[in-house]
Symmetry: C2
Subunit: 152 residues, 2 copies
Protein backbone atom coordinates (compact mmCIF):
# COMPACT_ATOMS: atom_id res chain seq x y z
CA UNK A 1 0.00 0.00 0.00
CA UNK A 2 1.34 3.43 -0.84
CA UNK A 3 1.66 6.00 1.91
CA UNK A 4 -1.18 8.48 2.43
CA UNK A 5 -0.33 11.83 0.89
CA UNK A 6 -3.45 13.77 -0.13
CA UNK A 7 -6.55 14.35 2.02
CA UNK A 8 -8.51 11.55 0.35
CA UNK A 9 -5.78 9.00 1.17
CA UNK A 10 -6.28 9.10 4.94
CA UNK A 11 -8.57 6.44 6.37
CA UNK A 12 -10.09 7.10 9.80
CA UNK A 13 -8.98 4.37 12.19
CA UNK A 14 -5.89 3.38 10.21
CA UNK A 15 -2.57 3.10 12.10
CA UNK A 16 0.93 3.46 10.67
CA UNK A 17 3.99 2.23 12.55
CA UNK A 18 7.35 3.70 11.67
CA UNK A 19 10.57 5.25 12.84
CA UNK A 20 13.75 4.27 14.58
CA UNK A 21 15.47 7.18 16.30
CA UNK A 22 18.54 6.50 18.36
CA UNK A 23 18.85 9.11 21.10
CA UNK A 24 22.40 10.10 21.97
CA UNK A 25 23.69 11.90 25.03
CA UNK A 26 25.47 14.34 22.75
CA UNK A 27 22.24 15.30 20.95
CA UNK A 28 20.31 15.64 24.25
CA UNK A 29 22.97 18.02 25.59
CA UNK A 30 23.18 20.01 22.35
CA UNK A 31 19.41 20.54 22.07
CA UNK A 32 19.08 21.37 25.77
CA UNK A 33 21.98 23.83 25.74
CA UNK A 34 20.36 25.76 22.89
CA UNK A 35 16.65 25.58 23.75
CA UNK A 36 15.96 24.12 27.21
CA UNK A 37 18.97 24.58 29.51
CA UNK A 38 17.29 23.35 32.68
CA UNK A 39 19.69 21.49 34.99
CA UNK A 40 18.03 18.06 34.60
CA UNK A 41 18.59 18.21 30.82
CA UNK A 42 22.26 19.15 31.20
CA UNK A 43 23.69 17.25 34.16
CA UNK A 44 23.37 13.79 35.67
CA UNK A 45 23.90 15.22 39.15
CA UNK A 46 21.09 17.76 38.83
CA UNK A 47 18.76 15.16 37.27
CA UNK A 48 19.42 12.74 40.14
CA UNK A 49 17.76 15.23 42.48
CA UNK A 50 14.53 15.27 40.41
CA UNK A 51 11.72 12.85 39.56
CA UNK A 52 13.61 12.02 36.33
CA UNK A 53 16.42 10.23 38.17
CA UNK A 54 19.05 10.83 35.49
CA UNK A 55 19.82 13.05 32.53
CA UNK A 56 16.91 13.07 30.08
CA UNK A 57 15.88 14.81 26.87
CA UNK A 58 13.89 18.04 26.82
CA UNK A 59 10.25 17.27 26.04
CA UNK A 60 10.55 19.68 23.11
CA UNK A 61 13.46 17.64 21.85
CA UNK A 62 11.27 14.53 21.95
CA UNK A 63 8.63 16.44 19.94
CA UNK A 64 11.33 17.37 17.42
CA UNK A 65 12.57 13.77 17.18
CA UNK A 66 8.96 12.62 16.63
CA UNK A 67 8.59 15.18 13.83
CA UNK A 68 11.80 13.96 12.28
CA UNK A 69 10.44 10.39 12.18
CA UNK A 70 7.14 11.64 10.70
CA UNK A 71 8.85 13.57 7.90
CA UNK A 72 11.18 10.63 7.20
CA UNK A 73 8.09 8.41 6.93
CA UNK A 74 6.42 10.92 4.56
CA UNK A 75 9.34 10.69 2.16
CA UNK A 76 7.99 10.27 -1.36
CA UNK A 77 4.54 11.30 -0.15
CA UNK A 78 4.93 14.94 0.75
CA UNK A 79 3.02 16.73 -1.97
CA UNK A 80 -0.21 17.00 0.02
CA UNK A 81 0.95 18.14 3.47
CA UNK A 82 0.37 21.84 4.15
CA UNK A 83 1.47 22.16 7.77
CA UNK A 84 -0.39 22.17 11.05
CA UNK A 85 -2.47 24.82 12.81
CA UNK A 86 -1.92 23.13 16.15
CA UNK A 87 -1.56 20.15 18.45
CA UNK A 88 -3.64 19.02 21.38
CA UNK A 89 -2.74 16.93 24.39
CA UNK A 90 1.03 16.77 24.21
CA UNK A 91 1.92 14.34 27.00
CA UNK A 92 5.38 13.36 28.21
CA UNK A 93 4.69 10.12 30.05
CA UNK A 94 8.23 8.78 30.66
CA UNK A 95 11.64 10.42 30.44
CA UNK A 96 13.72 9.84 27.28
CA UNK A 97 17.26 8.83 28.20
CA UNK A 98 20.56 8.66 26.30
CA UNK A 99 20.72 5.34 24.45
CA UNK A 100 16.95 5.04 23.99
CA UNK A 101 15.61 4.10 20.57
CA UNK A 102 12.26 5.67 19.74
CA UNK A 103 9.52 4.60 17.32
CA UNK A 104 6.06 5.90 16.41
CA UNK A 105 2.51 4.60 16.09
CA UNK A 106 0.26 7.12 14.35
CA UNK A 107 -3.51 6.68 14.14
CA UNK A 108 -6.02 8.71 12.09
CA UNK A 109 -8.74 9.86 14.51
CA UNK A 110 -10.88 11.97 12.17
CA UNK A 111 -10.83 14.09 9.01
CA UNK A 112 -12.83 17.10 7.93
CA UNK A 113 -13.12 19.00 4.67
CA UNK A 114 -12.54 22.73 4.93
CA UNK A 115 -15.74 24.74 4.52
CA UNK A 116 -13.94 27.88 3.36
CA UNK A 117 -11.30 26.24 1.15
CA UNK A 118 -12.72 23.39 -0.97
CA UNK A 119 -9.24 22.31 -2.08
CA UNK A 120 -8.00 21.31 1.38
CA UNK A 121 -9.00 19.39 4.49
CA UNK A 122 -7.77 18.73 8.03
CA UNK A 123 -6.70 15.33 9.31
CA UNK A 124 -6.78 14.68 13.07
CA UNK A 125 -4.15 12.20 14.28
CA UNK A 126 -2.79 10.68 17.45
CA UNK A 127 0.92 9.97 17.59
CA UNK A 128 2.39 7.68 20.23
CA UNK A 129 6.13 7.46 20.77
CA UNK A 130 7.56 4.31 22.37
CA UNK A 131 11.04 3.47 23.55
CA UNK A 132 12.93 0.19 23.01
CA UNK A 133 11.10 -1.33 26.00
CA UNK A 134 7.72 -0.52 24.43
CA UNK A 135 7.10 2.09 27.10
CA UNK A 136 5.01 5.05 25.95
CA UNK A 137 7.27 8.09 26.37
CA UNK A 138 5.13 10.69 24.59
CA UNK A 139 1.87 11.21 22.76
CA UNK A 140 0.12 14.07 21.03
CA UNK A 141 -2.89 14.85 18.83
CA UNK A 142 -1.96 16.98 15.83
CA UNK A 143 -4.24 18.58 13.27
CA UNK A 144 -2.63 18.54 9.83
CA UNK A 145 -3.87 20.26 6.69
CA UNK A 146 -3.66 18.38 3.38
CA UNK A 147 -4.39 19.25 -0.21
CA UNK A 148 -7.08 17.21 -1.92
CA UNK A 149 -6.01 15.03 -4.80
CA UNK A 150 -9.24 15.91 -6.61
CA UNK A 151 -10.56 19.26 -5.35
CA UNK A 152 -14.21 19.99 -6.03
CA UNK B 1 9.25 41.72 42.72
CA UNK B 2 11.32 38.58 42.57
CA UNK B 3 10.48 35.96 39.95
CA UNK B 4 8.21 33.09 40.94
CA UNK B 5 10.22 29.96 41.63
CA UNK B 6 8.45 27.64 44.08
CA UNK B 7 4.79 26.54 43.92
CA UNK B 8 3.68 29.09 46.50
CA UNK B 9 5.14 31.97 44.46
CA UNK B 10 2.70 31.63 41.55
CA UNK B 11 -0.36 33.88 41.69
CA UNK B 12 -3.35 32.87 39.59
CA UNK B 13 -4.12 35.62 37.08
CA UNK B 14 -0.62 37.13 37.13
CA UNK B 15 1.08 37.79 33.79
CA UNK B 16 4.80 38.00 33.08
CA UNK B 17 6.15 39.58 29.90
CA UNK B 18 9.64 38.65 28.78
CA UNK B 19 11.89 37.53 25.98
CA UNK B 20 13.46 38.91 22.85
CA UNK B 21 14.39 36.19 20.35
CA UNK B 22 15.74 37.25 16.99
CA UNK B 23 14.89 34.55 14.42
CA UNK B 24 17.51 34.05 11.73
CA UNK B 25 17.19 32.33 8.38
CA UNK B 26 20.25 30.27 9.25
CA UNK B 27 18.67 28.91 12.45
CA UNK B 28 15.34 28.19 10.70
CA UNK B 29 17.17 26.15 8.05
CA UNK B 30 19.37 24.35 10.58
CA UNK B 31 16.47 23.28 12.82
CA UNK B 32 14.33 22.26 9.84
CA UNK B 33 17.11 20.24 8.19
CA UNK B 34 17.56 18.22 11.38
CA UNK B 35 13.99 17.84 12.67
CA UNK B 36 11.36 19.03 10.18
CA UNK B 37 12.70 18.92 6.61
CA UNK B 38 9.43 19.76 4.89
CA UNK B 39 9.92 21.85 1.72
CA UNK B 40 8.23 25.02 3.09
CA UNK B 41 10.75 25.11 5.97
CA UNK B 42 13.73 24.69 3.64
CA UNK B 43 13.07 26.64 0.46
CA UNK B 44 11.49 29.98 -0.49
CA UNK B 45 10.27 28.51 -3.76
CA UNK B 46 8.46 25.59 -2.10
CA UNK B 47 7.00 27.89 0.58
CA UNK B 48 5.65 30.27 -2.09
CA UNK B 49 3.37 27.46 -3.26
CA UNK B 50 1.81 27.03 0.21
CA UNK B 51 -0.43 29.04 2.53
CA UNK B 52 2.75 30.28 4.29
CA UNK B 53 3.85 32.37 1.29
CA UNK B 54 7.55 32.29 2.11
CA UNK B 55 10.11 30.32 4.10
CA UNK B 56 9.01 29.99 7.74
CA UNK B 57 10.13 28.24 10.91
CA UNK B 58 8.97 24.77 11.89
CA UNK B 59 6.26 25.04 14.52
CA UNK B 60 8.43 22.81 16.73
CA UNK B 61 11.24 25.30 16.31
CA UNK B 62 8.90 28.06 17.54
CA UNK B 63 8.08 25.87 20.56
CA UNK B 64 11.81 25.45 21.20
CA UNK B 65 12.45 29.19 20.89
CA UNK B 66 9.59 29.84 23.34
CA UNK B 67 11.15 27.37 25.78
CA UNK B 68 14.48 29.11 25.43
CA UNK B 69 12.88 32.45 26.39
CA UNK B 70 11.11 30.80 29.35
CA UNK B 71 14.32 29.26 30.71
CA UNK B 72 16.20 32.53 30.19
CA UNK B 73 13.46 34.29 32.17
CA UNK B 74 13.72 31.66 34.96
CA UNK B 75 17.41 32.43 35.42
CA UNK B 76 18.12 32.78 39.12
CA UNK B 77 14.74 31.24 39.92
CA UNK B 78 15.08 27.65 38.79
CA UNK B 79 15.24 25.71 42.03
CA UNK B 80 11.52 24.92 42.07
CA UNK B 81 10.81 23.79 38.51
CA UNK B 82 10.47 20.02 38.09
CA UNK B 83 9.51 19.72 34.44
CA UNK B 84 6.20 19.28 32.67
CA UNK B 85 3.88 16.30 32.20
CA UNK B 86 2.31 17.90 29.15
CA UNK B 87 0.96 20.81 27.17
CA UNK B 88 -2.52 21.52 25.86
CA UNK B 89 -3.70 23.59 22.92
CA UNK B 90 -0.49 24.29 21.06
CA UNK B 91 -1.60 26.70 18.33
CA UNK B 92 0.49 28.12 15.51
CA UNK B 93 -1.54 31.13 14.46
CA UNK B 94 0.87 32.95 12.10
CA UNK B 95 4.06 31.83 10.38
CA UNK B 96 7.41 32.83 11.94
CA UNK B 97 9.71 34.30 9.29
CA UNK B 98 13.45 35.03 9.14
CA UNK B 99 14.11 38.42 10.75
CA UNK B 100 11.17 38.19 13.17
CA UNK B 101 11.77 39.06 16.82
CA UNK B 102 9.65 37.07 19.25
CA UNK B 103 8.53 37.83 22.81
CA UNK B 104 6.33 36.08 25.39
CA UNK B 105 3.37 36.88 27.61
CA UNK B 106 2.80 34.14 30.18
CA UNK B 107 -0.28 34.04 32.41
CA UNK B 108 -0.98 31.77 35.40
CA UNK B 109 -4.37 30.14 34.76
CA UNK B 110 -4.60 27.85 37.80
CA UNK B 111 -2.54 25.89 40.35
CA UNK B 112 -3.19 22.65 42.19
CA UNK B 113 -1.40 20.89 45.02
CA UNK B 114 -0.53 17.26 44.35
CA UNK B 115 -2.67 14.83 46.31
CA UNK B 116 -0.11 12.05 46.18
CA UNK B 117 3.03 14.15 46.71
CA UNK B 118 2.58 16.83 49.37
CA UNK B 119 5.91 18.44 48.50
CA UNK B 120 4.94 19.46 44.95
CA UNK B 121 2.15 21.10 42.96
CA UNK B 122 1.20 21.77 39.35
CA UNK B 123 0.89 25.23 37.82
CA UNK B 124 -1.28 25.71 34.72
CA UNK B 125 -0.10 28.48 32.41
CA UNK B 126 -0.89 30.03 29.08
CA UNK B 127 2.00 31.27 26.98
CA UNK B 128 1.46 33.63 24.07
CA UNK B 129 4.26 34.38 21.60
CA UNK B 130 4.13 37.62 19.62
CA UNK B 131 6.28 38.90 16.78
CA UNK B 132 7.65 42.44 16.37
CA UNK B 133 4.32 43.57 14.90
CA UNK B 134 2.47 42.35 18.01
CA UNK B 135 0.88 39.55 15.98
CA UNK B 136 0.20 36.36 17.95
CA UNK B 137 2.29 33.67 16.25
CA UNK B 138 1.86 30.87 18.79
CA UNK B 139 0.20 29.97 22.06
CA UNK B 140 0.08 26.96 24.36
CA UNK B 141 -1.12 25.85 27.78
CA UNK B 142 1.57 24.00 29.71
CA UNK B 143 1.29 22.21 33.02
CA UNK B 144 4.47 22.61 35.06
CA UNK B 145 5.39 20.87 38.31
CA UNK B 146 7.05 22.90 41.04
CA UNK B 147 8.51 22.10 44.43
CA UNK B 148 6.90 23.79 47.39
CA UNK B 149 9.01 26.22 49.33
CA UNK B 150 7.43 24.97 52.57
CA UNK B 151 6.12 21.40 52.08
CA UNK B 152 3.56 20.22 54.57
Amino acid sequence: MSKPDYFEDFEVGATQKFGRYRVTREEILKFAAKYDPQPFHLSDEAAARTLFGSLCASGWHTCAMLMSMIVENMRGANKGALGSPGIDEVRWTKPVFPGDTLRVESTILDKKESRSRPEIGTVYMQNKVYNQNDELVMSNKPMVMFRKRNPG
